[in-house]
């Protein structure tokens, strides 16, 4: 095996935590069950990695196999990347999309190779007719850098694709062009939505975050649950019970009962003139708009926002700028004076 490929295997396998090692290797499906049984998984990680690399070598594993392993690793550790969302569109009145996955893959790779000779493109089919694409960029004279790949997750016959943040940004326009053309679209636009949680982005963009629907088959009276909380201990009298119930009700109407999709931040860029009751002072007299950036961060932003009013930290209802996030599929806002 080529030294660089062996090194690539070594570094990729080294990344995998011991607890997930078996799962990832099984998902990769390159080493058979019997072959994996010959390895001692209880030894020190460095020795384990060495054994695995030797095993791959004996099976004549190629760069392509290593790239697939990298995809599997990333699929199990999606949160390590920051994902952007792109929306594609067709010309109005275009033909119905007769999407062929094989055609898409061939077309995508062809477009990239036409522009850039040194590029590694790998595909792995995933659930719900989606495909994970891994691209390692090179230059005209240098081989592809396997340690800074970009990932694209595309859901077939939908206008949406997700890309991982790539440090080598100069090739992004080429990637987007390849994606658009190969998927039979005309235009591609970056959405103001970004998160480490790919499944949450998917839930927001495909509007799948709330899957409870009212039908005549279900009877779940919600009022009961509210009342229960209030009467837990009869020795406690809630003086502002009515207000508490109102806050609960408004929060439930805004956020629903389902788990919120997971975002880490919401960013508001303001370019507005200063508004004050007293029309005096340096700020009020300033003609140009003020520029400032407000960023809300949280391990789980939407759940945190949902708990603000019930915790008494904010008034209910919350500002629509905060509550519109999943509905508008944005967490980057630019606010200007109208």
């Amino acid at each position: 095996m080529d030294e660089t490929i062996a090194e690539f295997f070594k570094r990729t396998i080294l990344k995998i935590p011991l607890t997930k090692m078996m799962t990832v290797l099984k998902a990769w499906d390159f080493l058979s069950e019997s072959q994996l049984q010959t390895i001692n998984f209880r030894q020190r990680k460095e020795s384990l990695v060495q054994d695995l690399v030797q095993l791959c070598e004996s099976k004549r594993a190629s760069l392509h196999d290593a790239a697939l392993l990298d995809i599997v690793y990333t699929q199990f550790h999606q949160q390590q990347k920051v994902w952007d969302v792109f929306q594609m569109s067709k010309e109005p009145g275009e033909d119905v999309d007769l999407f062929d996955m094989e055609q898409f893959k061939t077309s995508f790779e062809k477009i990239l190779r036409r522009a850039l000779k040194n590029v590694t493109v790998s595909f792995r089919d995933a659930e719900e007719n989606s495909v994970w694409v891994r691209i390692a960029w090179g230059t005209q004279f240098r081989k592809p850098n396997q340690y800074k790949p970009v990932y694209v997750v595309y859901y077939a016959q939908t206008p949406y694709a997700f890309t991982s943040f790539c440090q080598l940004r100069s090739n992004m326009p080429l990637l987007l062009q390849a994606l658009t053309v190969a998927s039979n679209h005309h235009k591609i636009v970056k959405m103001d939505l970004r998160s480490r949680h790919l499944d949450s982005l998917k839930a927001i963009v495909f509007r799948q975050y709330n899957q409870t629907f009212e039908t005549h088959n279900c009877t779940t009276p919600l009022q009961e649950t509210l009342a229960l909380d209030m009467h837990m201990d009869s020795r406690i009298i809630h003086e502002n019970r009515i207000e508490k119930e109102r806050v609960q009700r408004v929060t439930q109407e805004t956020f629903g009962d389902y788990p919120q999709p997971r975002l880490e931040f919401a960013q508001y860029t303001l370019e507005t003139k200063f508004k004050s009751e007293f029309h005096e002072g340096i700020l009020a007299e300033r003609k140009e708009p003020l520029r400032c950036l407000i960023k809300f961060s949280s391990p789980h932003l939407l759940e945190a926002l949902k708990s603000l009013a019930p915790a008494g930290i904010a008034d209910a209802p919350l500002s629509p700028l905060l509550t519109c996030i999943p509905n508008k599929a944005m967490n980057y806002f630019k606010i200007r004076d109208k």
Partner: protein, 292 residues
């Protein structure tokens, strides 16, 4: 002082006048006021009688109710029967509302609008149900839904949601039923007729492009044909274009060529699984002919 005296005199004179007036009215009763007074008195008397009568009636009814609750048996069963009848009607109504699903399009009012349920079916088989939760506001908007991501919901809403909601729902029903039908055919081919396939069935999310290699006889020596089915109309369950080719390089014999054309026609006019069922039957016929 003269002025105040005059004022005082004037006041006294006024009071004197009022006094004589009252005395006169007490003695010489004005006929008009007299009749008015007696009329009012008569009215009061009548109202008092009515009040007493109503009071008596209330007491009577209360006594009757007490008497009836005292004798428990006959009245209680009457109540229970009534209650059962009402509950029965309620259950019946609930069942009817639940059964509305089978019409394909049903809904339930929500606090902000309506939740529409589209139940799909194909050839009498009930397939998946999909929901659209609508908020009734101006503009009408979709709150959340369970429509698959590859159904062009945004396109259909942009065209019809604001102007013609019936058409919006009809169009969506069409797309979903057609998708469910195509998916059903593809699933049937993969499960029940896998023996005919000489390779994997290639399909996409919308099941509007199917590509497979098949043999007419599952275990026989017959020719493998490559079929490519395109469904350009997303509201239909039959393909719009069918291309059947064969994998060899030699020219096809006339009989095979006839079969090829015949198959193209079959795929265009019949659902997938029915085509393969007919292949099975043909095979059976052949076997029978061999026996006899």
């Amino acid at each position: 002082t003269a002025g105040t005296l005059n004022l005082g005199l004037g006041v006294l004179a006024h009071l004197e006048r009022l006094e004589t007036q009252t005395n006169r009215s007490r003695k010489n009763l004005d006929p008009q006021t007299e009749t008015a007074e007696s009329a009012l008195e008569a009215k009061i008397h009548k109202l008092r009688c009515l009040r007493d009568k109503l009071r008596a009636e209330v007491k009577e009814r209360q006594a009757r109710v007490k008497a009836s609750t005292a004798s428990v048996e006959p009245d209680q069963t009457l109540e229970v029967n009534e209650q059962e009848a009402v509950e029965g009607k309620q259950e019946n109504m609930k069942a009817i509302l639940q059964a509305y699903r089978f019409t394909g399009l049903s809904g339930k009012l929500t606090s902000r609008g309506v939740c529409v349920c589209i139940s799909t079916a194909f050839e009498g088989n009930l397939l998946g149900s999909y929901f659209v939760d609508l908020v009734i506001q101006k503009p009408l908007r979709i709150h959340h839904h369970s429509i698959p991501v590859f159904i062009p919901l945004e396109e259909i809403s942009a065209k019809y949601l604001q102007t013609n909601i019936q058409h919006f729902l009809f169009c969506l029903c069409e797309h979903l039923n057609a998708y469910a039908g195509r998916k059903y055919q593809a699933d049937q081919l993969q499960s029940d007729f896998a023996g005919f396939l000489a390779g994997p069935l290639r399909r996409n999310s919308l099941c509007n492009l199917l590509s497979f290699t098949y043999k007419v006889e599952p275990h026989g020596q017959s020719f493998p044909f490559c079929a490519r089915l395109l469904y350009k109309d997303l509201t239909t369950t039959l393909p719009t274009d069918v291309t059947i080719t064969y994998q060899g390089t030699d020219a096809l014999s006339t009989s095979w060529e006839e079969q090829r054309v015949c198959h193209e026609n079959l795929f265009l006019t019949k659902p997938l699984h029915q085509v393969f069922t007919s292949f099975t039957r043909k095979g059976e016929k052949l076997d029978m002919s061999l026996v006899s």
